[in-house]
Protein backbone atom coordinates (compact mmCIF):
# COMPACT_ATOMS: atom_id res chain seq x y z
CA UNK A 1 0.00 0.00 0.00
CA UNK A 2 1.08 3.52 -0.72
CA UNK A 3 2.61 5.07 2.40
CA UNK A 4 0.46 8.18 2.18
CA UNK A 5 -2.65 6.04 2.05
CA UNK A 6 -1.49 3.94 4.98
CA UNK A 7 -0.60 6.96 7.09
CA UNK A 8 -3.85 8.69 6.23
CA UNK A 9 -5.88 5.63 7.15
CA UNK A 10 -4.04 5.20 10.45
CA UNK A 11 -4.42 8.83 11.31
CA UNK A 12 -8.09 8.81 10.34
CA UNK A 13 -8.66 5.77 12.52
CA UNK A 14 -6.98 7.41 15.50
CA UNK A 15 -8.84 10.66 14.94
CA UNK A 16 -12.12 8.77 14.75
CA UNK A 17 -11.26 6.85 17.89
CA UNK A 18 -10.25 9.86 19.98
CA UNK A 19 -13.25 11.85 18.79
CA UNK A 20 -15.60 8.92 19.32
CA UNK A 21 -14.44 8.50 22.91
CA UNK A 22 -14.58 12.19 23.75
CA UNK A 23 -17.93 12.52 22.04
CA UNK A 24 -19.51 10.18 24.58
CA UNK A 25 -18.94 12.76 27.31
CA UNK A 26 -20.20 15.67 25.25
CA UNK A 27 -23.25 13.72 24.17
CA UNK A 28 -24.23 12.39 27.57
CA UNK A 29 -23.53 15.66 29.35
CA UNK A 30 -25.77 17.19 26.72
CA UNK A 31 -23.36 20.01 25.94
CA UNK A 32 -22.96 19.96 22.13
CA UNK A 33 -22.39 23.69 21.97
CA UNK A 34 -19.49 23.44 24.35
CA UNK A 35 -17.83 21.05 21.96
CA UNK A 36 -18.40 23.49 19.10
CA UNK A 37 -17.22 26.47 21.12
CA UNK A 38 -14.05 24.66 22.16
CA UNK A 39 -13.33 23.50 18.60
CA UNK A 40 -13.74 27.00 17.25
CA UNK A 41 -11.62 28.56 19.99
CA UNK A 42 -8.84 26.13 19.20
CA UNK A 43 -9.14 27.14 15.57
CA UNK A 44 -9.02 30.85 16.47
CA UNK A 45 -6.06 30.29 18.80
CA UNK A 46 -4.15 28.39 16.15
CA UNK A 47 -4.79 30.96 13.44
CA UNK A 48 -3.88 33.96 15.56
CA UNK A 49 -0.73 32.23 16.73
CA UNK A 50 0.34 32.11 13.07
CA UNK A 51 -0.17 35.86 12.76
CA UNK A 52 2.16 36.50 15.68
CA UNK A 53 4.55 33.70 14.76
CA UNK A 54 3.86 31.71 17.92
CA UNK A 55 3.65 27.92 18.24
CA UNK A 56 0.18 27.40 16.81
CA UNK A 57 -0.76 24.02 18.24
CA UNK A 58 0.23 25.14 21.69
CA UNK A 59 -1.88 28.28 21.42
CA UNK A 60 -4.75 26.32 19.98
CA UNK A 61 -4.67 24.16 23.07
CA UNK A 62 -4.43 27.13 25.45
CA UNK A 63 -7.37 28.80 23.71
CA UNK A 64 -9.51 25.69 23.83
CA UNK A 65 -8.68 25.00 27.44
CA UNK A 66 -9.33 28.58 28.54
CA UNK A 67 -12.69 28.40 26.82
CA UNK A 68 -13.38 25.14 28.59
CA UNK A 69 -12.56 26.63 31.99
CA UNK A 70 -14.55 29.75 31.26
CA UNK A 71 -17.68 27.88 30.22
CA UNK A 72 -17.26 24.92 32.58
CA UNK A 73 -19.47 26.32 35.34
CA UNK A 74 -22.43 26.76 33.01
CA UNK A 75 -22.43 23.12 31.96
CA UNK A 76 -24.59 22.05 34.87
CA UNK A 77 -27.83 21.36 33.09
CA UNK A 78 -29.70 21.31 36.38
CA UNK A 79 -29.00 24.99 36.79
CA UNK A 80 -29.22 26.75 33.46
CA UNK A 81 -29.88 26.17 29.84
CA UNK A 82 -26.50 27.17 28.50
CA UNK A 83 -27.21 26.77 24.81
CA UNK A 84 -28.19 30.36 24.06
CA UNK A 85 -25.21 32.02 25.73
CA UNK A 86 -22.93 29.38 24.27
CA UNK A 87 -24.14 29.90 20.75
CA UNK A 88 -23.29 33.58 21.16
CA UNK A 89 -19.84 32.69 22.48
CA UNK A 90 -19.11 30.34 19.64
CA UNK A 91 -20.27 32.81 16.99
CA UNK A 92 -17.94 35.33 18.59
CA UNK A 93 -15.00 32.92 18.55
CA UNK A 94 -15.82 31.99 14.96
CA UNK A 95 -15.69 35.69 14.06
CA UNK A 96 -12.25 35.98 15.63
CA UNK A 97 -11.03 32.90 13.80
CA UNK A 98 -12.21 34.21 10.43
CA UNK A 99 -10.81 37.65 11.14
CA UNK A 100 -7.42 36.00 11.60
CA UNK A 101 -7.92 33.82 8.55
CA UNK A 102 -8.80 36.90 6.50
CA UNK A 103 -5.69 38.74 7.64
CA UNK A 104 -3.53 35.81 6.66
CA UNK A 105 -5.32 35.00 3.45
CA UNK A 106 -3.21 33.25 0.87
CA UNK A 107 -0.12 33.54 3.02
CA UNK A 108 -0.26 30.37 4.95
CA UNK A 109 -1.22 26.82 4.14
CA UNK A 110 -1.63 26.15 7.86
CA UNK A 111 -4.68 28.41 8.02
CA UNK A 112 -6.39 26.27 5.46
CA UNK A 113 -5.45 23.22 7.50
CA UNK A 114 -6.96 24.66 10.63
CA UNK A 115 -10.19 25.37 8.79
CA UNK A 116 -10.48 22.32 6.57
CA UNK A 117 -7.87 19.94 7.86
CA UNK A 118 -5.32 17.97 5.90
CA UNK A 119 -5.08 14.38 6.83
CA UNK A 120 -2.62 13.58 4.04
CA UNK A 121 0.07 15.63 5.72
CA UNK A 122 0.24 13.53 8.87
CA UNK A 123 3.67 12.11 9.56
CA UNK A 124 4.67 9.07 11.59
CA UNK A 125 5.50 11.33 14.52
CA UNK A 126 1.96 12.73 14.58
CA UNK A 127 0.49 9.26 14.35
CA UNK A 128 2.64 7.99 17.17
CA UNK A 129 1.79 10.97 19.37
CA UNK A 130 -1.91 10.61 18.68
CA UNK A 131 -1.75 6.89 19.37
CA UNK A 132 -0.10 7.41 22.76
CA UNK A 133 -2.70 9.98 23.66
CA UNK A 134 -5.55 7.66 22.74
CA UNK A 135 -4.06 4.92 24.90
CA UNK A 136 -3.88 7.32 27.84
CA UNK A 137 -7.49 8.35 27.31
CA UNK A 138 -8.63 4.75 27.24
CA UNK A 139 -6.69 3.93 30.40
CA UNK A 140 -8.23 6.91 32.18
CA UNK A 141 -11.72 5.93 31.12
CA UNK A 142 -11.16 2.41 32.44
CA UNK A 143 -9.67 3.55 35.75
CA UNK A 144 -12.34 6.17 36.44
CA UNK A 145 -15.21 4.31 34.82
CA UNK A 146 -17.48 4.26 37.87
CA UNK A 147 -16.77 7.93 38.59
CA UNK A 148 -17.47 8.93 35.01
CA UNK A 149 -20.67 6.94 34.79
CA UNK A 150 -22.22 8.25 37.99
CA UNK A 151 -21.04 11.77 37.09
CA UNK A 152 -22.80 11.53 33.73
CA UNK A 153 -25.88 10.15 35.46
CA UNK A 154 -26.26 12.90 38.05
CA UNK A 155 -23.64 15.18 39.52
CA UNK A 156 -25.23 15.64 42.92
CA UNK A 157 -25.63 11.92 43.43
CA UNK A 158 -22.05 11.50 42.26
CA UNK A 159 -20.91 13.96 44.91
CA UNK A 160 -22.67 11.98 47.65
CA UNK A 161 -20.95 8.83 46.43
CA UNK A 162 -17.50 10.25 46.99
CA UNK A 163 -16.83 11.39 43.42
CA UNK A 164 -14.83 14.59 43.14
CA UNK A 165 -17.19 16.14 40.61
CA UNK A 166 -15.11 19.27 40.11
CA UNK A 167 -12.09 17.19 39.17
CA UNK A 168 -14.09 14.96 36.84
CA UNK A 169 -15.71 17.94 35.11
CA UNK A 170 -12.44 19.73 34.46
CA UNK A 171 -10.75 16.52 33.49
CA UNK A 172 -13.41 15.96 30.83
CA UNK A 173 -13.13 19.55 29.60
CA UNK A 174 -9.34 19.19 29.50
CA UNK A 175 -9.73 16.00 27.50
CA UNK A 176 -12.06 17.71 25.03
CA UNK A 177 -9.51 20.52 24.68
CA UNK A 178 -6.64 18.12 23.94
CA UNK A 179 -8.56 15.94 21.52
CA UNK A 180 -9.90 18.95 19.67
CA UNK A 181 -6.44 20.48 19.37
CA UNK A 182 -4.83 17.29 18.16
CA UNK A 183 -7.46 16.76 15.51
CA UNK A 184 -7.62 20.38 14.45
CA UNK A 185 -5.28 20.35 11.47
CA UNK A 186 -6.23 16.79 10.61
CA UNK A 187 -9.97 17.20 10.26
CA UNK A 188 -10.19 20.99 10.41
CA UNK A 189 -12.02 23.15 12.93
CA UNK A 190 -15.11 23.50 10.77
CA UNK A 191 -15.90 19.81 10.51
CA UNK A 192 -14.29 18.42 13.59
CA UNK A 193 -17.46 18.67 15.56
CA UNK A 194 -19.32 16.31 13.27
CA UNK A 195 -16.69 13.73 14.03
CA UNK A 196 -17.17 14.24 17.76
CA UNK A 197 -20.95 14.20 17.99
CA UNK A 198 -21.97 11.67 15.33
CA UNK A 199 -20.32 8.53 16.80
CA UNK A 200 -22.11 8.78 20.18
CA UNK A 201 -25.35 9.57 18.34
CA UNK A 202 -24.91 6.23 16.60
CA UNK A 203 -24.09 4.43 19.85
CA UNK A 204 -27.20 5.94 21.36
CA UNK A 205 -29.34 3.95 18.96
CA UNK A 206 -27.95 0.62 20.05
CA UNK A 207 -27.24 0.19 23.73
CA UNK A 208 -28.23 0.79 27.34
CA UNK A 209 -24.82 -0.25 28.59
CA UNK A 210 -22.29 2.53 29.05
CA UNK A 211 -19.30 0.28 28.35
CA UNK A 212 -20.81 -0.80 25.05
CA UNK A 213 -21.73 2.81 24.43
CA UNK A 214 -18.06 3.82 24.55
CA UNK A 215 -17.18 0.86 22.38
CA UNK A 216 -19.80 1.47 19.67
CA UNK A 217 -19.01 5.16 19.62
CA UNK A 218 -15.29 4.47 19.15
CA UNK A 219 -15.97 1.90 16.47
CA UNK A 220 -18.31 4.25 14.59
CA UNK A 221 -15.67 6.96 14.79
CA UNK A 222 -13.04 4.67 13.31
CA UNK A 223 -15.36 3.29 10.61
CA UNK A 224 -16.68 6.70 9.64
CA UNK A 225 -13.31 8.39 9.35
CA UNK A 226 -11.42 5.59 7.60
CA UNK A 227 -14.40 4.98 5.29
CA UNK A 228 -14.41 8.68 4.45
CA UNK A 229 -10.69 8.63 3.68
CA UNK A 230 -11.10 5.62 1.38
CA UNK A 231 -13.93 7.35 -0.48
CA UNK A 232 -11.80 10.44 -0.82
CA UNK A 233 -8.95 8.41 -2.37
CA UNK A 234 -11.21 6.49 -4.72
CA UNK A 235 -13.16 9.44 -6.04
CA UNK A 236 -10.48 12.05 -5.51
CA UNK A 237 -12.71 14.24 -3.32
CA UNK A 238 -11.85 16.61 -0.43
CA UNK A 239 -11.21 14.31 2.50
CA UNK A 240 -12.84 16.13 5.43
CA UNK A 241 -16.03 16.42 3.44
CA UNK A 242 -16.14 12.72 2.60
CA UNK A 243 -15.41 11.83 6.23
CA UNK A 244 -18.24 13.96 7.56
CA UNK A 245 -20.66 12.86 4.87
CA UNK A 246 -19.82 9.19 5.29
CA UNK A 247 -20.13 9.52 9.06
CA UNK A 248 -23.55 11.14 8.74
CA UNK A 249 -24.56 8.36 6.37
CA UNK A 250 -23.63 5.80 9.01
CA UNK A 251 -25.82 7.72 11.42
CA UNK A 252 -28.84 7.70 9.10
CA UNK A 253 -28.44 4.01 8.47
CA UNK A 254 -28.14 3.36 12.21
CA UNK A 255 -31.41 5.17 12.89
CA UNK A 256 -33.11 2.90 10.35
CA UNK A 257 -31.93 -0.19 12.19
CA UNK A 258 -32.01 1.26 15.68
CA UNK A 259 -33.24 -1.40 18.09
CA UNK A 260 -34.28 1.32 20.53
CA UNK A 261 -36.41 3.04 17.94
CA UNK A 262 -37.91 -0.17 16.68
CA UNK A 263 -38.50 -1.65 20.09
CA UNK A 264 -39.80 1.43 21.81
CA UNK A 265 -41.47 2.90 18.74
CA UNK A 266 -40.16 6.42 18.60
Amino acid sequence: MDEVVLKSLLMAGLAGLSCGLTGVFIYLMNIPFIGVAIAHSAMAGGIWALIFNLPSKFLAFIASFLTAIFIGPITDRAKTNPNISLSIIFSFVMGIAFLGAGLLEGKNQLVTNFLWGNIFLSGWKDIFFHGVLVIFVIIFIIIFFRQFSVFLFNREIAATLGVNTGFILYFILFLIGIVVTLNLDIIGGLMLFALIITPPSIAYQFTFDLKKFFFISSLSGILGSTGGVILSFIFNLPVSATVVIFMSLLFFISTLFSPKRIRYGE
Binding site: L28, R77, A78, R146, S149, V150, F153, N154, E156, I157, A158, A159, T160, L161, G162, A203, Y204, T207, F208, D209, L210, K212, F213, K260, Y264
Partner: protein, 227 residues
Protein backbone atom coordinates in the same frame (compact mmCIF):
# COMPACT_ATOMS: atom_id res chain seq x y z
CA UNK B 1 -26.70 12.84 73.31
CA UNK B 2 -26.62 10.90 70.17
CA UNK B 3 -26.46 13.89 67.86
CA UNK B 4 -25.84 13.21 64.23
CA UNK B 5 -26.18 16.60 62.57
CA UNK B 6 -26.91 20.03 63.97
CA UNK B 7 -27.69 23.34 62.32
CA UNK B 8 -26.70 26.34 64.41
CA UNK B 9 -28.50 29.48 63.32
CA UNK B 10 -27.85 28.82 59.65
CA UNK B 11 -28.64 31.53 57.14
CA UNK B 12 -28.25 31.00 53.40
CA UNK B 13 -28.11 33.84 50.93
CA UNK B 14 -27.84 33.43 47.20
CA UNK B 15 -26.82 36.74 45.70
CA UNK B 16 -28.83 39.36 47.58
CA UNK B 17 -31.67 37.00 48.33
CA UNK B 18 -32.03 35.33 51.70
CA UNK B 19 -33.30 31.82 51.09
CA UNK B 20 -32.96 30.32 54.57
CA UNK B 21 -33.01 32.30 57.82
CA UNK B 22 -31.85 31.23 61.26
CA UNK B 23 -32.32 27.51 60.75
CA UNK B 24 -31.56 25.82 64.04
CA UNK B 25 -32.13 22.17 64.84
CA UNK B 26 -30.48 18.98 65.98
CA UNK B 27 -31.08 15.54 64.56
CA UNK B 28 -30.36 12.56 66.76
CA UNK B 29 -29.48 9.10 65.60
CA UNK B 30 -32.58 7.35 64.33
CA UNK B 31 -34.74 10.46 64.03
CA UNK B 32 -37.28 10.46 61.23
CA UNK B 33 -38.13 14.03 60.36
CA UNK B 34 -40.68 15.22 57.87
CA UNK B 35 -39.99 18.65 56.39
CA UNK B 36 -43.09 20.28 54.96
CA UNK B 37 -43.72 23.66 53.38
CA UNK B 38 -45.07 25.43 50.30
CA UNK B 39 -43.31 25.61 46.93
CA UNK B 40 -40.30 27.88 47.16
CA UNK B 41 -40.21 27.83 50.96
CA UNK B 42 -36.61 26.55 50.95
CA UNK B 43 -36.94 22.79 51.53
CA UNK B 44 -34.58 21.71 48.76
CA UNK B 45 -32.13 24.44 49.71
CA UNK B 46 -32.13 23.14 53.27
CA UNK B 47 -31.27 19.61 52.12
CA UNK B 48 -28.54 20.89 49.82
CA UNK B 49 -27.10 22.95 52.65
CA UNK B 50 -27.08 19.89 54.89
CA UNK B 51 -25.19 18.06 52.14
CA UNK B 52 -22.67 20.86 51.80
CA UNK B 53 -23.62 21.69 48.19
CA UNK B 54 -24.59 25.15 49.40
CA UNK B 55 -22.53 26.90 52.08
CA UNK B 56 -24.20 28.83 54.87
CA UNK B 57 -23.66 32.57 54.74
CA UNK B 58 -23.92 32.65 58.54
CA UNK B 59 -24.07 30.00 61.21
CA UNK B 60 -22.58 26.54 61.15
CA UNK B 61 -23.42 22.91 60.60
CA UNK B 62 -21.92 20.36 62.88
CA UNK B 63 -21.80 16.71 62.05
CA UNK B 64 -21.55 14.15 64.85
CA UNK B 65 -20.42 16.79 67.32
CA UNK B 66 -17.45 17.67 65.23
CA UNK B 67 -17.01 20.56 62.91
CA UNK B 68 -16.71 18.78 59.61
CA UNK B 69 -15.31 20.03 56.40
CA UNK B 70 -18.42 20.28 54.25
CA UNK B 71 -16.93 17.84 51.84
CA UNK B 72 -17.09 15.16 54.46
CA UNK B 73 -20.72 15.47 55.40
CA UNK B 74 -22.01 14.23 52.11
CA UNK B 75 -20.01 11.05 52.41
CA UNK B 76 -22.29 10.03 55.25
CA UNK B 77 -25.50 10.98 53.48
CA UNK B 78 -27.70 9.02 51.13
CA UNK B 79 -29.47 11.49 48.88
CA UNK B 80 -32.46 11.19 46.58
CA UNK B 81 -32.85 14.46 44.69
CA UNK B 82 -36.18 16.03 43.82
CA UNK B 83 -35.71 15.93 40.09
CA UNK B 84 -33.53 13.80 37.91
CA UNK B 85 -33.33 14.83 34.30
CA UNK B 86 -32.56 11.51 32.76
CA UNK B 87 -33.35 10.80 29.15
CA UNK B 88 -35.43 7.70 28.41
CA UNK B 89 -32.57 6.19 26.42
CA UNK B 90 -29.73 7.10 28.77
CA UNK B 91 -27.30 4.15 28.69
CA UNK B 92 -27.72 2.98 32.26
CA UNK B 93 -29.89 0.18 33.64
CA UNK B 94 -31.47 0.13 37.10
CA UNK B 95 -28.84 -2.26 38.43
CA UNK B 96 -26.03 0.07 37.34
CA UNK B 97 -27.61 2.86 39.35
CA UNK B 98 -27.62 0.79 42.53
CA UNK B 99 -24.08 -0.37 41.81
CA UNK B 100 -22.87 3.22 41.66
CA UNK B 101 -22.92 3.00 45.46
CA UNK B 102 -20.92 -0.26 45.53
CA UNK B 103 -23.30 -2.23 47.78
CA UNK B 104 -22.19 -5.34 49.61
CA UNK B 105 -23.52 -8.50 48.03
CA UNK B 106 -25.74 -9.44 50.98
CA UNK B 107 -27.20 -5.98 51.29
CA UNK B 108 -27.88 -5.89 47.57
CA UNK B 109 -29.69 -9.22 47.66
CA UNK B 110 -31.68 -8.12 50.68
CA UNK B 111 -32.75 -4.90 48.97
CA UNK B 112 -33.66 -6.59 45.70
CA UNK B 113 -35.81 -9.09 47.54
CA UNK B 114 -37.50 -6.79 50.04
CA UNK B 115 -38.01 -3.88 47.66
CA UNK B 116 -39.45 -6.37 45.14
CA UNK B 117 -37.37 -4.97 42.31
CA UNK B 118 -36.06 -8.20 40.81
CA UNK B 119 -38.12 -7.70 37.65
CA UNK B 120 -37.05 -4.17 36.94
CA UNK B 121 -33.39 -4.38 37.78
CA UNK B 122 -32.33 -5.16 34.19
CA UNK B 123 -34.48 -2.42 32.68
CA UNK B 124 -33.10 0.89 31.42
CA UNK B 125 -33.38 3.39 34.25
CA UNK B 126 -34.88 6.04 31.98
CA UNK B 127 -37.77 3.75 31.08
CA UNK B 128 -38.88 3.07 34.64
CA UNK B 129 -42.06 4.55 36.07
CA UNK B 130 -41.80 7.26 38.70
CA UNK B 131 -42.37 4.83 41.55
CA UNK B 132 -39.85 2.33 40.22
CA UNK B 133 -37.27 5.06 39.84
CA UNK B 134 -37.76 6.25 43.40
CA UNK B 135 -37.29 2.72 44.73
CA UNK B 136 -34.10 2.27 42.72
CA UNK B 137 -32.77 5.61 43.92
CA UNK B 138 -33.65 4.73 47.50
CA UNK B 139 -31.87 1.40 47.05
CA UNK B 140 -28.85 3.26 45.70
CA UNK B 141 -28.88 5.80 48.55
CA UNK B 142 -29.17 2.99 51.07
CA UNK B 143 -26.42 0.90 49.50
CA UNK B 144 -23.65 3.01 50.93
CA UNK B 145 -25.07 2.50 54.45
CA UNK B 146 -25.46 6.18 55.17
CA UNK B 147 -25.92 7.69 58.63
CA UNK B 148 -28.45 10.09 57.19
CA UNK B 149 -30.97 9.69 54.38
CA UNK B 150 -32.05 12.92 52.71
CA UNK B 151 -35.11 12.45 50.54
CA UNK B 152 -36.47 15.34 48.50
CA UNK B 153 -40.18 14.86 47.76
CA UNK B 154 -40.03 11.18 46.89
CA UNK B 155 -43.81 11.24 46.41
CA UNK B 156 -43.57 13.62 43.47
CA UNK B 157 -45.38 12.13 40.45
CA UNK B 158 -46.25 8.97 42.34
CA UNK B 159 -49.80 7.76 42.68
CA UNK B 160 -50.97 6.74 46.11
CA UNK B 161 -50.16 3.05 45.66
CA UNK B 162 -46.68 3.70 44.38
CA UNK B 163 -46.07 6.06 47.30
CA UNK B 164 -47.37 3.48 49.79
CA UNK B 165 -44.98 0.93 48.30
CA UNK B 166 -42.14 3.42 48.59
CA UNK B 167 -42.99 4.04 52.24
CA UNK B 168 -43.12 0.30 52.84
CA UNK B 169 -39.50 0.07 51.67
CA UNK B 170 -38.52 3.11 53.69
CA UNK B 171 -40.02 1.74 56.91
CA UNK B 172 -38.32 -1.57 56.28
CA UNK B 173 -34.97 0.19 56.05
CA UNK B 174 -35.78 2.19 59.13
CA UNK B 175 -36.41 -0.95 61.14
CA UNK B 176 -33.41 -2.81 59.78
CA UNK B 177 -30.70 -0.12 59.75
CA UNK B 178 -32.24 2.77 61.67
CA UNK B 179 -30.71 5.63 59.68
CA UNK B 180 -31.60 9.21 60.48
CA UNK B 181 -34.11 10.33 57.86
CA UNK B 182 -34.93 13.84 56.75
CA UNK B 183 -37.71 13.69 54.19
CA UNK B 184 -39.28 16.57 52.31
CA UNK B 185 -42.88 16.19 51.27
CA UNK B 186 -46.02 18.04 50.36
CA UNK B 187 -48.28 15.21 51.26
CA UNK B 188 -49.50 15.34 54.84
CA UNK B 189 -52.50 13.11 54.32
CA UNK B 190 -50.09 10.20 54.74
CA UNK B 191 -47.63 10.65 57.56
CA UNK B 192 -45.51 7.51 57.70
CA UNK B 193 -45.33 5.57 60.92
CA UNK B 194 -42.08 6.15 62.81
CA UNK B 195 -41.95 9.84 61.89
CA UNK B 196 -41.11 11.42 65.21
CA UNK B 197 -41.08 15.11 64.35
CA UNK B 198 -42.46 17.36 61.67
CA UNK B 199 -40.73 20.61 60.74
CA UNK B 200 -42.85 23.22 59.01
CA UNK B 201 -40.90 25.68 56.88
CA UNK B 202 -42.27 28.96 55.57
CA UNK B 203 -40.35 31.60 53.64
CA UNK B 204 -37.03 30.08 54.64
CA UNK B 205 -37.78 29.83 58.35
CA UNK B 206 -38.70 26.77 60.34
CA UNK B 207 -41.85 27.99 62.08
CA UNK B 208 -42.96 24.80 63.79
CA UNK B 209 -41.27 21.68 65.10
CA UNK B 210 -43.97 19.36 66.30
CA UNK B 211 -44.92 15.79 66.93
CA UNK B 212 -46.87 14.35 63.99
CA UNK B 213 -50.25 14.32 65.72
CA UNK B 214 -49.89 18.00 66.64
CA UNK B 215 -49.56 19.12 63.05
CA UNK B 216 -53.25 19.08 62.40
CA UNK B 217 -53.84 21.31 65.37
CA UNK B 218 -52.01 24.16 63.66
CA UNK B 219 -54.83 26.43 62.51
CA UNK B 220 -53.80 27.44 59.02
CA UNK B 221 -51.60 24.43 58.25
CA UNK B 222 -53.15 23.86 54.81
CA UNK B 223 -52.55 27.47 53.91
CA UNK B 224 -48.92 27.23 55.02
CA UNK B 225 -48.27 24.08 53.03
CA UNK B 226 -50.22 24.84 49.90
CA UNK B 227 -49.49 28.56 49.82
Amino acid sequence: MNEIISFYDVTVKIGQKTILSNIDFKLNRGDFILLIGANGSGKTTLLKTALGFIKPSFGSIIYKNEISGYKDIKNFCGYVPQRLDIDRYFPVIAEDVINFAKPEKNLLNYIIKEFRIKDIIRKPFGMLSGGERQKILLAMALSKKPDILLLDEPNLNLDINAYRDFLRCLLLIKKEFNPTILMVTHLISIIPKMVNRVFVIKDGRIIYKKAPYEIFKIKNIMEIIYG
